[in-house]
């Protein structure tokens, strides 16, 4: 274990603290706060357990609204105690914009886009990383690591730089150069692994036994994952403390999907939103080229058969998604679905979003919008529903899939005459 002078202070404090420990999602076994992510008894995933009675005594809409203009306004529901310093770059509290032009095309009068590309490193990963790096630092870790398809590495490298911690990011050796440049500038140690994300992840899962490192999405995963909830907390707040009717969420490991379900429950149980007649439907979006969760959904099983990813939506190309079974269960329980879109539909989705709403998203956002469009055209909605699509990353992460077309570009000399001849109509 790493040097940890502050560890006992933070995690071993008085019993009235709001973060109680870790609990197995399968067998309910309980653990003290530490860097582990699966149950020693049944291998089930571990979640952070809160003392909601403590939280209930302090939390309120007013307290949240008085908080910072970042996801940390929801600190009461995150696993970092109040006195611990946090590593922040102002992540979260991203805009929720009403999409009237896209909505009109899809027959949706109340379509909203949660634009999480407007984060410090341009993806929703900054939410989870801010929590993970804060947790790791306060618990004495000196090195941060991650297994990543690119966006997570970008974020981890940035937050490690801000925290002044050593950093190792593990990525597939064919990760897009744009993502690598945006990561490399923070000067982490980059380990390019010959293989796909699942190979990278497997290696890192072995490494935690040898290295005293905090791997954001492996041994620190229970804390990390909690950051995702803030996306849904904010959405409800921005809708005037109401929950939407349906949320479209891209699926990679399924980690954030599961957390959004938890976020909804917390909002309802703590009285932060008016208790709705029905919880929002949670709908998952995958690329057909890496659709293990969609495949299982279609076959009516919770059993996920791993696939070998083959898609431009690399940031969500996880062939063996750890939370896959939970995604299927939650989609079914809430009345959502899991859908998949082709490579062409992904690019169409990116272009559709850009030309109607002025938002440039990466391929994962194309999966989300492609899925939204596909479901809308199939008649899923009457048109009055409040539907929210989570746009989780920026188009500058994957510019190569929308190359410049020549159609609307002309080149001229800097003269009125040239303008009149070539441009003016």
């Amino acid at each position: 274990m790493p040097n940890s002078p502050t560890k006992s202070e933070i995690s071993g404090g008085p019993r009235t603290r709001r973060v109680k420990g870790l609990r197995c999602r399968e067998c309910g076994a309980e653990y003290q706060l530490q860097a582990i992510h699966f149950c020693q008894a049944c291998f089930g995933p571990l979640d952070v357990a809160y003392d909601y009675e403590v939280i209930r005594q302090v939390i309120s809409r007013e307290r949240i609204q008085r908080g910072p203009a970042s996801m940390w306004r929801y600190r009461d529901l995150l696993p970092i105690e109040d006195e611990a310093p946090i590593i922040t770059l102002g992540e979260g509290f991203t805009p929720l914009v009403k999409a009237d032009r896209l909505g009109a095309l899809l027959g949706l009068k109340n379509l909203y886009l949660k634009n999480d590309s407007m984060n410090p490193t341009n993806s929703f990963k900054d939410r989870v990383v801010s929590v993970a790096v804060s947790w790791a630092r306060v618990h004495g870790y000196e090195t941060i690591g991650c297994a990543s398809t690119g966006n997570l590495a970008n974020s981890v490298a940035a937050y490690a730089a801000r925290a002044g911690l050593e950093c190792y990011v593990f990525v597939p050796d064919d990760t897009e150069e744009g993502k690598l440049i945006a990561t490399g500038v923070f000067e982490p140690n980059v380990v390019a692994v010959r293989g796909n994300y699942d190979d990278v992840n497997r290696l890192c899962s072995q490494l935690i036994d040898e290295q005293d490192w905090a791997f954001c999405n492996i041994n620190v995963r229970p804390y990390y994952a909690e950051g995702s909830k803030t996306l849904t907390f904010e959405t409800a707040e921005q809708l005037g403390w109401e929950l939407p009717d349906e949320i479209i969420i891209p699926i990679a490991s399924g980690c954030q999907f599961v957390r959004h379900r938890r976020a909804i429950q917390e909002l309802v149980d703590l009285g932060l939103v008016d208790k709705p007649d029905r919880l929002p439907r949670l709908t998952g979006a995958q690329a057909a080229g890496c659709a293990p969760v969609y495949n299982a959904w279609r076959e009516g099983t919770e059993q996920i058969t791993p696939v070998r990813p083959q898609t431009i939506a690399r940031s969500i190309a996880i062939g063996n998604p750890s939370d896959g079974p939970y995604v299927i269960r939650i989609a079914r329980e809430t009345g959502g679905v899991v859908e998949a879109v082709t490579e062409e539909e992904i690019v169409d989705g990116m272009r559709l979003l850009a030309r109607t709403e002025g938002i440039f998203t990466e391929t994962a956002g194309g999966v989300t919008i492609g899925t939204l469009a596909k479901l809308a055209r199939a008649g899923r909605w009457s048109g009055e529903e409040v539907v929210v699509a989570y746009i989780t990353g920026h188009g500058l992460k994957t510019p190569e899939v929308v190359p410049l077309g020549g159609e609307r570009r002309v080149e001229i000399e800097p003269t009125m005459r040239a303008f009149r001849e070539k441009v003016s109509v």
Copy 2:
């Protein structure tokens, strides 16, 4: 003039409205609200004139804080009347982060970074464009245009898409491909002009006589420019309604520099900040490869001699800056300076910011941080001053200047053995 059904309603309303008209900065001649940007009498620049008595009656810190989490919380000080619809993507209200690690290196205990790369199209231009496109749409314009080095085109294309307006962006023919892809996805008409920004700008200035278009930074410039003020309004709010001691601002045309001076005056005059003993020093940053304002400053004149730009900081490479003389006057009056940095110092500034604070900025941000570092090392500050640097654009706009270095990258097979051999220490 364009079709303008709403024009009389908006601009010809009752006398108690807060936006009164346009006023010449040089001779004081007054004009009704319209799409013009220079005085018909003396050719001086036109500024928006407000009725501050009307504003004073409504504005307060509380009202601002109850507003949206965007720059539109300062709508009372922007030239779009309350009943007019705005075109917004959630621009502004970007994080102001304390930079302790960079500050320690530079001997500054109270250094802050206003990270305006966290805007919808990743530069501060979204502030000015949101105002310009809103103004143009409400005044009946159907086509939006701009002369741009890249960032402005990116923003204008996005907001025109969101508004559903026709769009023409004029850029130098050698504009960086990344900026063009991020622009092209919004499907504007791109006019690549063979020449530099000053050539593009000259052409567009001629075009306004022929085309019924709203050129954001030409005929609509007085409204457009006002959006810049929000950067300084927010900085004061985020410092707890206090003004900093000094602000470092990159200089292109000088437009935003002038507006920050105005923003400070408005904050003080309207009692939004406690009246300081001394106004903040406003300090300008240029690239040595395009430093017409710095050259004039050094020579002790307000006369700007145009230069031919030759710098990687293309987004601020304006060789003939229209507001140059005002920048020099304001820097002198407030106790600021104008400084310039070499190409190497620009890249060093980008890398320094990234590795100490986890923020990836474009070359213009490298100019700002390079200037900050240069002034700090030259002993400009005692160390206690509150200094704010405006980071105006994102590193993914100009990734080519920070190519991947091989130093900290290793490539391995996905095995523990490979890790132990090549990575583990």
